[in-house]
Symmetry: C2
Subunit: 256 residues, 2 copies
């Protein structure tokens, strides 16, 4: 055994909490929270899992928009030998913090075990609530242009609108960003019928969950905010008894 | 109370088991399996959850490729007043059976509660195993042309390759279908560097899990089969210490 192997080393688990309901968080995530000496996260997400935390764990809650500090803190504590859990809403690997953790670990040349524990992401949870809108090829696009040039986002919207993908829009709107969803709808409308089904879910699997089924034509009349995910159907998507369904192709091939 | 409300009615839960490891299945899915009077599913998936099944439940296992029969059976039993769980690997809403259930329910004008219980899909699980490849806009495309015209699949590959999406390829290859992955790689290579990172995961989160990191150039040298998911990076995706990472843009915006 080398010295390095004998040294007590910390570790970092990047833990996905799922959409918010306790019974949609994987047992592996719960176990990682219970095993952590330090739990780091955004206050709102930590509040969702207070019951799972070990009373002996140190809890470091931060405000929104402090992702870089949060990830740096988690890596630094793990580097000092602590067993750290960094909590993310949904799935850490989909518009959450897993990537930033690796970017920062690379920048610091951090030599420690980093484990990503996947979760049920907003796209999985919202699809289930709406019915089955993601049953055929789909694309996920964030409308936030904070770190991505808007031209690239438009190019992506255009590409998937033209190629008839179901489209999941993350970060559709915030108090300061209100134009992006208007433009996204215009781009989709250039390729799809105004009656294309659109599902709008806010606060999925939480107490304040709201679900609305509308159309491309009418979608801007609905409330869309920071916690909203918007799913735009493809040319085959239909609504049946308040469920949004994209057929896979069984009907065409086999008759049903 | 109307007669309809008094009538004992069945229900159908379409349950996502997650990728296969017991500790990646949501408690809500486990509860639905335990509560079911009848559990219907493909034999391989049922074998993964034998421990969760209620000994009093009737279990109807079927072979592969019998999705329509399986869904019809589940709907018929629920229509007869049974509490039925239909199990799916991964997430029922992503290339699994939730859509087919609604299509068949519509065809039969079935009036019963249908609940989709989301799960950790292959894309979530494979991304976590690989590192953080899905941290920016991505598309999921199935290469199976059994029910989708190959021309449409090519059009979609072309669209997302050109617009620099990370791409998750489902059903990349089977014994009979071996050309699609070759053509998909060609399309990606027309728009991306040969050194673009590619992650290949087979049997994610199961005992026989294998993980390989390669490049667009070399990917065809790796074993790819029915249980394989292939993730092709975008122009920014990099590999650091055997982890595949797509940056979100923090580095460019803030410096890290």
């Amino acid at each position: 055994m080398t010295t390095a192997q004998n040294r007590i080393k910390g570790s970092l688990a990047v833990v996905g909490l799922g959409p918010g309901a306790a019974d949609l968080m994987a047992p592996r995530a719960r176990a990682a929270l219970e095993a952590a000496e330090v739990v780091v996260g955004y206050r709102t997400y930590l509040d969702l899992v207070r019951d799972c935390l070990n009373p002996a764990s140190e809890v470091l809650a931060s405000s929104m928009m402090q992702e870089i500090d949060r990830c740096r803190t988690a890596l630094a504590l793990a580097g000092q030998g602590k067993k750290v859990a960094l909590v993310c809403g949904g799935d850490p690997g989909i518009y959450a913090m897993a990537g930033l953790v690796f970017e920062l670990a690379q920048a610091a040349d951090a030599d420690l075990p980093i484990d990503v524990i996947p979760g049920i992401a907003a796209l999985n949870a919202c699809a289930a609530i709406l019915g089955a809108p993601l049953m055929h090829d789909f694309a996920a696009i964030s409308l936030s242009d904070l770190m991505t040039p808007w031209e690239l986002i438009e190019r992506r919207l255009e590409a998937v609108a033209a190629a008839d993908f179901v489209v999941v829009l993350y970060n559709p709107k915030s108090k300061k960003r209100t134009d992006q969803i208007v433009r996204a709808r215009e781009i989709m409308l250039a390729h799809r019928s105004p009656t294309t089904p659109v599902g709008i879910v806010s606060g999925a699997a939480r107490e304040h969950e709201t679900v609305r089924l509308t159309t491309l034509d009418r979608m801007l009349g609905e409330e869309i905010g920071m916690q909203t995910t918007v799913i735009v159907g493809n040319s085959q998507t239909f609504v049946w008894r308040d469920r949004m369904v994209t057929p896979r192709g069984y009907g065409r091939k086999y008759g049903l």
